[in-house]
């Protein structure tokens, strides 16, 4: 083997003979190289896996959730999570079951006390037809198929809140709300960021100076208090959908600065690349240079930035709704769910109200892992 140009650690299929391996590497398309590199990053793959599960929940929330988001179960109020089990002293069962359980209010302490009836088993049934619903918050296809349910009575794997609503179901609906809000917010931020950053980076000069100062100005205003101020200014009598829209807009409009900066920086460095100068010397038009030469080098970076930006949106929404300035009931989002668990009394009385936070943490972790993995893979020629 003479001078090999494949940098160390970039060989993909070690089983191939060296020449074929080289050939495969040199003829691979950019996205293939990105994928080969990303595939080796286990955390990145884990993040992608987590997010796929979330997208699945987002799309099929109605089907996966055993109950509606506002269905009340007056028999089981503020009840702890029920455990699905396969065996007990009465023997083993291939079909998982939960015990029959109800809650009663203690007349002295007013706490809800669950009574578990060990003798009554409720078997889990899969693909049950129970309550009718319509996909996407009652806007699309009607169905009554649920992923699971019990043969009689109710099942609350994550427990219930103070009104007897199933936390598992609510968490799934909240996943939809919070993630779609994140997507729309990030898109708004991205479009503004692309236009402003693109103008600053490509036009340069006065425009660049002005946009740079504007970004610095916006960044010097503390974000969460400003979100709060703006969110507080929303009229209290607005319908929840309108509030949802406005919160998304606020988060999006104030969040573009980071993206704009990154896009500008990348454009500036790209403009000095040899191949761009070569294209200019060869007489390529501006449009052609941007579209054919700069954009491909650039897309992967933008994708990384967008992915990395998601957690910020999610955490901002959660914090806003948590303190009561963001989304409000009856909209169900992660922050709204956690409102019920604002103080120490709630934790001591009903720790399961915090289960939704695990979903927030995993969503943020998923985006972070995926973003880190993509960042490493984004520039396969490096």
């Amino acid at each position: 083997m003479t001078a090999t140009t494949i940098p160390k650690g970039k060989r993909t299929a070690a089983t191939l003979p060296p020449d074929e391996e080289k050939l495969k590497y040199f003829t691979a398309r950019q996205w293939q190289l990105v994928w080969w590199r990303f595939r080796r990053n286990r955390l990145g793959l884990l993040g992608a896996g987590i997010l796929i599960i979330y997208i699945f929940v987002l799309i099929f929330a109605e089907f996966l959730a055993p109950y509606g988001g506002t269905t009340l179960d007056s028999e089981y109020v503020l009840g702890p999570p029920q455990v699905a089990r396969f065996w007990d002293e009465n023997g083993f069962s291939l079909r998982p079951f939960v015990y029959s359980v109800t809650t009663e209010r203690d007349p002295v302490t007013l706490a809800m006390i669950p009574t578990i009836d060990n003798s009554k088993r409720r078997y889990l049934q899969f693909f049950v037809r129970t309550k009718e619903y319509k996909y996407w918050n009652g806007n699309l296809i009607a169905s009554d198929l649920h992923f699971f349910g019990v043969d009689e009575g109710t099942i609350h794997l994550f427990g219930t809140d103070s009104l007897g609503r199933d936390i598992l179901s609510r968490t799934m609906y909240a996943t939809r709300t919070s993630l779609t809000l994140g997507v729309v917010g990030v898109l708004i931020a991205f479009v503004i960021g692309l236009v402003m950053g693109g103008m600053a980076g490509y036009l340069g000069g006065q425009v660049d100076f002005f946009i740079q100062r504007l970004i610095e100005l916006i960044r010097s205003v503390p974000d969460i208090p400003l979100f709060m101020g703006l969110a507080a200014a929303l009229p209290k009598e607005w319908p929840p959908e309108k509030v949802y829209l406005m919160i998304t807009l606020i988060l999006g409009f104030l969040g573009w600065t980071t993206l704009a900066r990154r896009i500008r920086g990348k454009l500036l460095s790209l403009r000095k690349e040899d191949y761009v100068i070569a294209a200019q010397l060869a007489g390529g038009s501006n449009a052609r240079i941007i579209a054919r030469h700069m954009l491909p080098a650039f897309t992967s970076y933008i994708i990384v930035d967008i992915v990395v930006y998601f957690p910020y949106m999610i955490l901002a929404e959660t914090a806003l709704s948590f303190v009561g300035l963001g989304l409000r009931p009856p909209v169900i989002s992660w922050g709204v769910l956690l409102q019920g668990a604002q103080n120490i009394q709630a934790i001591e009385l009903a720790p399961w109200l915090f289960i939704p936070v695990i979903f927030v943490v995993f969503a943020v972790l998923g985006f972070t892992f995926l973003g880190d993995g993509l960042r490493d893979a984004a520039d396969p020629y490096n």
Binding site: S220, P222, M228, G229, P311, A319, V323, L325, N343
Partner: protein, 331 residues
């Protein structure tokens, strides 16, 4: 240096103006104006009907019938010249009296959190980079990821739960009962410091995680540079090689972030204050905003923002002192 100083100073003034305009807009945003709420509160609660004429009188009294730029001008000159932030709608007292100590508590909280961040992030970041792929490095990376993804109010609740169930004490608040309303004295300061660490840890965690990652990444880049090898080749002791060269450069991004750090910490404060029931400005801000008491909310926003802008200015100067390339205007 002087030119750089003047440049940053002018920019700071412009920023402050911009911030005040934004906050003024926020104050004016809610539907209905101050006069309406004032009139309904004052007159309607006294059992009188509110007439159009009353509204006009009230508007005139507060200068609300003038165009927005004039109102802004009046608002800002009152603040700058007389320290008059208007009257709290919620409590019926001048906003100035409401804020008092609270803003300093918030600042004390933020500064403690920043000190904590640096004290943890810098040494651990250096360690992580020097002993890459060691158990300690993986542990630090793992904690870093968790720290970044856990909403800070959640961390507050977890710590609160821990301190109530395991330590048997409440971690909420900033003072013990006997000091809550007391005048400032030495024991009260000690008491404050004893309570300050929980909110400081809560606020500082995400930032610590962030700086830890930055520190580690820059250190790793710098450790591979030729000048490090050159320093070693000259026989300089290893600790000196590390601390005199790569560490010094790796500190740059952290210092340049000081202002934004301050902003992030103060911004996160209201949510944490709610959970930990801290008597600081964040909690008051939240209360004001929830009740749409915009004068009070606006005043706190303005104060917090001003402190952050000054913080950014100071960090710019520090960065210039640390890095000659910046003060000579090369970057």
């Amino acid at each position: 240096m002087l030119r750089y100083f003047a440049q940053r100073f002018i920019f700071m003034i412009i920023t402050l103006l911009f911030v005040s305009v934004v906050i003024f807009i926020v104050i004016e945003l809610p539907p209905g104006d101050y006069a309406e709420r004032y009139a309904y509160r004052k007159l309607a609660s006294a059992g009188q009907d509110v007439t159009e004429q009353d509204m006009i009188n009230v508007r005139h009294e507060f200068g609300l019938d003038k165009p927005a730029p004039v109102r802004y001008f009046n608002w800002i000159t009152d603040i700058i010249l007389h320290g008059d932030f208007g009257e709290s709608f919620l409590f019926n007292v001048p906003v100035r009296n409401m804020i008092g100590d609270r803003i300093w508590l918030t600042m004390a909280l933020a500064s403690t959190a920043i000190l904590l961040t640096y004290a943890l992030a810098i040494p651990i970041g250096i360690f992580s980079a020097l002993y890459r792929h060691s158990f300690g490095d993986y542990l630090a990376t793992f904690i870093g990821y968790i720290g970044l993804s856990l909403p800070n109010f959640m961390l507050a609740l977890v710590l609160l739960y821990f301190s109530v169930t395991v330590l048997g004490s409440s971690a909420g608040g900033l003072f013990s009962e006997e000091f809550a309303e007391a005048a400032w004295s030495w024991p009260r300061v000690v008491d404050l410091l004893e309570h300050l660490w929980v909110p400081a840890v809560v606020l500082g965690t995400a930032n610590t995680a962030f700086h830890l990652q930055t520190m580690r990444a820059t250190m790793l880049d710098e450790l591979n540079q030729l000048y490090v090898d050159a320093a070693r080749a000259r026989g300089i002791p290893e600790w000196k090689v590390i601390f005199k060269y790569p560490v010094r450069i790796a500190l740059n991004p952290i210092v340049s972030y000081l202002g934004f750090d301050l902003g992030k910490l103060v911004a996160g404060a209201p949510v944490v204050a709610l959970v930990l029931s801290l008597p600081d400005a964040g909690q008051l801000l939240l209360q004001a905003l929830l009740q749409q008491d915009m004068f009070l909310g606006g005043a706190i926003l303005l104060m917090i923002s001003t402190m952050i802008v000054i913080g950014v200015f100071i960090s710019d100067l520090m960065l210039a002192a640390l890095d000659p390339r910046i003060r000579l205007g090369e970057t």
